[in-house]
């Protein structure tokens, strides 16, 4: 099991004393306040590519320890929004604050663990070396002692025996698991995931969301997840921002009241089914507006 701090799900929220400081269970002498601090704040952010309005002004807030999903059809600007939060794209207008700083500074201080849509593994690096990649880059900002070692993380996702394998020897699901470990390894307070399971088959996909749920539960990491899969959004999220296309807008903000920890059995319950139905309706309503 991972030995990192227990999260804030359903518990008393614990906020970091100051912005810009890596929080987590390692710091013991924290100033504790009962106020939940926002980890990601998007204020009135819009994006246009030339004359094409990709994203109408959008507001979004993700609190510490919260998992929020951007759910919407393709072309609704959810990936664009995520990329702007990751500092990979500049908004045309509006402001984004990530962990108390600009996205650019957040990148500089390695506050973001990014999981791209394709695993983006480097074919010349072994599984372990790939999982270490983000630790090796921009070393100054890397944690001196990561709370979980890369080896433990690989063990946790079932790749313990594949440490020395090369990416081409792995299945698609295994490759994306390396991608997850790579993001988790830098101990970033914020994880941004851009449809990480989109290219996987349905069965692997289900396994992967269960795995991700298991990894995220005990961490207290703030997660922003992009998907067009309703079960994925339901299973993983505390809140779902439903988006509609042309130009992209957030049309609904659905709180997912399902209990934690989320286990695979949950997906067979009526409550789960009700939530997926609600999300489907919300998506359809957004499309008709």
């Amino acid at each position: 099991m991972l030995r990192r701090c227990r999260s804030l799900h359903n518990g008393t929220p614990i906020a970091a004393g100051s912005h810009g400081v890596r929080t987590g269970c390692r710091t013991t002498a924290q100033v504790r306040s009962p106020v939940v601090s926002p980890r990601i704040e998007v204020r009135n952010v819009a994006k246009a590519f030339g004359s094409l309005d990709a994203l109408a002004p959008v507001d979004l807030r993700v609190d510490e320890g919260e998992t929020v999903t951007l759910l919407g059809p393709s072309g609704c600007g959810k990936t664009t929004l995520l990329r702007m939060i990751a500092g990979l794209e500049r908004p045309s207008s509006g402001e984004i604050v990530v962990n108390g700083m600009s996205p650019t500074d957040a990148r500089r201080h390695k506050q973001i663990g990014f999981v791209p849509q394709s695993p983006a593994l480097l074919p010349w690096r072994t599984v372990e070396a790939n999982a270490r990649l983000l630790l090796d880059i921009n070393r100054r900002a890397s944690p001196v002692t990561p709370s979980a070692s890369v080896r433990d993380l690989l063990e946790e996702v079932g790749l313990g025996d594949f440490r020395d394998a090369y990416p081409h020897e792995l299945s698609g699901g295994m490759q994306q698991r390396v991608g997850l470990v790579r993001a988790f390894a830098i101990d970033a307070p914020i994880l941004l995931m851009d449809e990480p399971f989109a290219a996987l088959d349905e069965m692997t996909r289900t396994d992967m969301r269960h795995l991700l749920g298991r990894l995220c539960e005990p961490l207290g990491t703030t997660v922003l997840f992009v998907t067009h899969s309703i079960p994925e959004a339901t299973f993983l999220s505390d809140r779902v921002a439903v988006m509609s296309p042309r130009p992209g807008r957030v049309t609904d903000d659905v709180r997912i009241g399902l209990p934690h920890p989320r286990t695979p059995e949950l997906e067979d319950t009526d409550r789960f089914f009700h939530v997926t139905t609600e999300l489907r309706r919300s998506l359809a309503a957004g499309m008709q507006r």
Partner: protein, 254 residues
């Protein structure tokens, strides 16, 4: 025959057959020595003075290795600039094409006049002829780097040199090796020809040039065969390095 033995035997059979046809053709049609010398005569010549041809082959090999290395270093530098800026790429490309297509044998006399002959002229010609090919390989390879991986590195604010070292250069290796084979052929030709016309006193090109001037067909053909062997040795080195460095690449998997 097992596939393994066949891989060794088949090429040998091919080369031997080629040699036999060559030998017979020379004898039957009584071809003049300067046009084509029988393999047996060439081998006799090489066997008579192995040290002489060996030491001159070493000189030419040295010119080739040093020239190609300098060319590759230069190509990696220029190529990464071209891969990072569309403007630089578009500005540099026509110049490289010009260097590539202009027959260097036509202007080598001017180069000799300019650089004054000697080893630097030989090296200059090797670099000049192989540099455009190498550069195109570097640019193509670097631009093939996975854009998702580039974004991933950007998400933790990787410095340009980190992107170069950890992503772009390894991505360029497969195409660098592919172009290295062409570059080596061009570099060897340039080394041989320049040695013959740049007032150096060593190298296969130099002794070949002298042999031609003194109507010594045996020596001329011995340098030709030596150069060919040098080229084969170069290809072997490139292939071995490729096997070692590109084990991860799909081209190296059976």
């Amino acid at each position: 025959m097992s596939p393994r033995t066949q891989r060794i035997v088949a090429p040998l059979v091919g080369v031997l057959a080629f040699g036999v046809v060559w030998e017979l053709a020379v004898r039957i049609f009584d071809i003049r020595r300067f046009v084509l010398l029988a393999p047996s005569a060439i081998l006799t010549e090489l066997a008579d003075a192995p040290g002489y041809y060996w030491s001159n082959a070493v000189v030419t090999g040295w010119h080739m290795v040093v020239g190609l290395s300098m060319s590759l270093l230069l190509a990696v530098g220029v190529g990464s600039l071209m891969a990072s800026s569309r403007f630089i790429e578009e500005a540099t490309q026509p110049v490289l094409v010009l260097v590539l297509v202009t027959p260097w044998v036509a202007y080598i006399t001017s180069v000799v006049l300019w650089l004054g002959g000697g080893e630097q002229t030989v090296l200059f010609m090797v670099v000049l002829t192989s540099f455009p090919v190498f550069t195109f390989g570097v640019v193509g390879g670097m631009k093939s780097a996975d854009p998702a991986a580039r974004e991933l590195l950007a998400s933790v604010d990787a410095r340009p040199w980190e992107i170069f070292w950890r992503l772009r250069l390894p991505s360029a290796l497969p195409s660098i090796f592919t172009t290295a084979r062409f570059a080596m052929g061009l570099g060897l030709a340039a080394a041989y020809f320049s040695e013959g016309s740049a007032f150096v006193t060593e190298g296969l090109g130099y002794i070949g040039q002298r042999a031609a001037a003194f109507n010594n067909a045996e020596a001329l053909w011995a340098t030709i065969v030596s150069s060919a062997l040098l080229g084969i040795a170069g290809l072997v080195v490139i292939t071995v390095l490729e096997r070692l460095l590109l084990r991860w690449h799909s081209s190296q998997r059976s």
